[in-house]
């Protein structure tokens, strides 16, 4: 394969030139994150979150590898080995708290990153592959986090594993054999723990690979921007380095402050007390809940309480997986010609309601499966599916959008009200 940019860049330093002639890594770095990658000049702070997600993955991999040097993946000793890390391993408590809170950090930045995509239409052509690869990363993250939480073998680890692996039994016909195959037995036990450890170690590297594809797919059309208007000329752009390396550096500093506050002063705020009790297959906790980042999906799972042709449990499972799978089709569900929510006032209203809706789902997911939470999560689930599958497709066909700026530079330099083009106008000389 040959890239159009491959011929252009020549490193200045003789060693780099020697290296580049033999393994074109210097030019790869230059063209992807260096001075050679043009980026729209009007990106706002929401564009920081992709890099923050990469930072979070790095933190998780580094702390994870180090923790794996001390962790024992046996049902009898796992819990004790985690306490060994917390008490006896040098700075072990720091590594453990960083890894546990790092997972929450990873999900927070990823959710903001996804919501950025939903609002600004980042999933629209020609970036459909970027979006779908991103969803693959999200699914892998969820699998990795779920398996990671099982490893300490506390009460929530065990019972969470029991509930989630039990869901597979809801699949008609093949459900039971699949569940037994997944668990390696009749209930989560030693076999489940060791395979979850193996996969938990593996999947982050798969995620890293998919991230490379995700960024590669992005760098063909280039980054989107808050106006949703394409880059028309170099005037619309600045080189990634030093403009966005500096901005991302600042953003990383702010993010790390939040992470440090969590790790050092509130290390168990997002945790569940029951996971400090060793797993006991004979004693079910009063309320089984997953980690907070799964709460919205947990609420959707528990919202379906009545059998209707299919058993309620199966509806719950289908809805829970469906709520993520439908996102793959978003580029074709939302047919609006305008990308960015900034220019879609009607869309904006429904979008904010969606955010509120997901927050409500999250709150219900962390609450006991009692009234009124079940009814509230049913209403919220209705809105969630309606938003993506009914509202957006219809809205995108009938909504009135605001006029778009002619170009990014125009929107940055002159302000939009002054010289906004009428809706649908294209610049005179298309280049």
């Amino acid at each position: 394969m040959s890239f159009p940019w491959a011929e252009e860049y020549r490193p200045k330093h003789p060693f780099m030139r020697w290296m580049d002639d033999r393994l074109p890594l210097p030019r790869l770095v230059y063209n992807s994150v260096g001075g050679g990658y043009p980026v729209p000049r009007n990106l706002n702070n929401f564009w920081n979150f992709g890099v923050l997600a990469g930072l979070a993955l790095t933190i998780q991999i580094v702390t994870g590898i180090v923790l794996a040097m001390h962790y024992e993946p046996s049902a009898a000793n796992a819990f004790g080995s985690v306490e060994h890390i917390m008490r006896d391993v040098n700075q072990g408590w720091f590594l453990r708290y960083l890894h546990a809170n790092g997972a929450s950090f990873f999900f927070i930045v990823t959710y903001i990153h996804i919501f950025r995509g939903l609002y600004y239409g980042s999933y629209k052509a020609p970036r459909e592959m970027v979006w779908m690869l991103g969803l693959v990363i999200f699914l892998l993250m969820m699998a990795t986090a779920f398996m990671g939480y099982v490893l300490p073998w506390g009460q929530m680890s065990f019972w969470g594993a029991k509930v989630i692996t039990g869901l597979f039994g809801a699949i008609p016909l093949v459900g039971e054999p699949i569940q037994t195959w997944l668990v390696g037995g009749y209930a989560p036990d030693q076999a489940t723990l060791t395979r979850f450890f193996s996969l938990h170690y593996l999947l982050p590297f798969v995620i890293a690979g998919v991230i490379i594809l995700h960024i590669w797919a992005l760098h063909i059309p280039g980054s989107g921007n808050p106006t949703g208007v394409d880059v028309k000329s170099p005037q619309d752009t600045v080189p990634f380095h030093p403009y966005y390396t500096a901005k991302d550096g600042f953003g990383a500093g702010v993010a790390l402050i939040f992470l440090a506050i969590l790790v050092f002063f509130l290390p168990n705020y997002l945790a569940h007390a029951d996971n400090y009790i060793q797993a006991n297959p004979l004693s079910t906790p009063a309320h089984i809940v997953p980690e907070w980042y799964f709460w919205p999906f947990y609420a959707i799972l528990r919202a379906f309480t009545i059998d209707f042709i299919l058993p309620a449990k199966l509806w719950g499972v289908l809805a829970m997986f469906g709520s993520i799978l439908l996102l793959f089709f978003l580029p074709w569900l939302d047919k609006s010609p305008v990308r960015s929510g900034s220019y879609r006032p009607a869309f904006r209203i429904f979008f904010w309601i969606l955010l509120l809706d997901i927050a409500v789902l999250g709150y219900c997911g962390g609450s006991p499966a009692e009234e009124p939470f079940v009814m509230i999560s049913q209403v919220a689930t209705i809105y969630y599916f309606a938003y993506f599958l009914i509202i957006l497709p219809v809205l995108s066909m009938v909504e009135r959008t605001l006029p778009l700026p002619n170009s990014i530079s125009e929107s940055v330099l002159h302000g939009e009200k002054a010289e906004a083009a009428p809706y649908g106008a294209r610049p005179a000389a298309a280049e």
């Binding site: 006896d88 040098n90 700075q91 170099p234 550096g249």
Partner: protein
């Protein structure tokens, strides 16, 4: 191919002033990164529970003259032998200078406790556990320890006399807490 023109702002001292803050920011971030490296590397050092077993107290009351026991210290075998007067005499009769690893028995025991020989039970050749500490085990040609792996013979002061081992059996740090109790490590 449009290019945005730029001008260089060069300070009087040749360093671009605007670069100073950038260098400072990157350096501080670098220091932070290095500081993060410390716990990542230090966690591989022995943990507190391993260090706790770095010292053990051994009770010598049950070991009679001529007897030896094997015990574990830092996950390695230790031989504690109560030397008989004959064994002490045999050790002292040898000219230390002629040995491969010259040491006298006095150098390998503590003042006032010359009968107590405490050594690692690890052959200095390639690490096997020599015979001779337990009842009935071969003591080799010099009445001390014998390593069956490659035929190293140690004498009553656990010094190498014959065979491929280069050094005498190692004497760990120890101190007597009383006549019948010793702290190793």
């Amino acid at each position: 191919m449009a290019a945005v023109e730029h001008s260089e702002a060069i300070g009087a001292d040749g360093v671009r002033r605007r670069d100073f803050i950038n260098i400072a920011a990157v350096s501080v971030a670098g220091v932070g990164g290095l500081a993060l490296l410390y716990p990542l590397v230090n966690q591989m050092n022995p943990s507190a529970d391993v260090l706790a077993l770095a010292q053990i107290d051994v009770d010598l009351a049950g070991i009679e003259s001529g007897q030896a026991i094997k015990t574990m210290w830092r996950k390695q075998p230790i031989f504690i032998r109560n030397l008989t007067p004959a064994e002490i005499q045999a050790a002292n009769a040898v000219d230390a200078g002629s040995l491969r690893d010259p040491q006298t028995l006095a150098e390998r025991t503590k003042e006032g406790h010359a009968n107590w020989l405490i050594t690692l039970g690890v052959c200095t050749h390639l690490g096997c556990v020599p015979l001779g500490a337990a009842e009935g085990e071969s003591k080799g040609e010099f009445g001390g320890y014998f390593c069956p792996c490659h035929g190293s013979h140690y004498d009553t002061a656990a010094r190498i006399r014959k065979g491929p081992a280069p050094l005498n059996l190692e004497v760990p740090d120890y101190e007597f807490l009383s006549d019948t109790s010793v702290r190793i490590g």
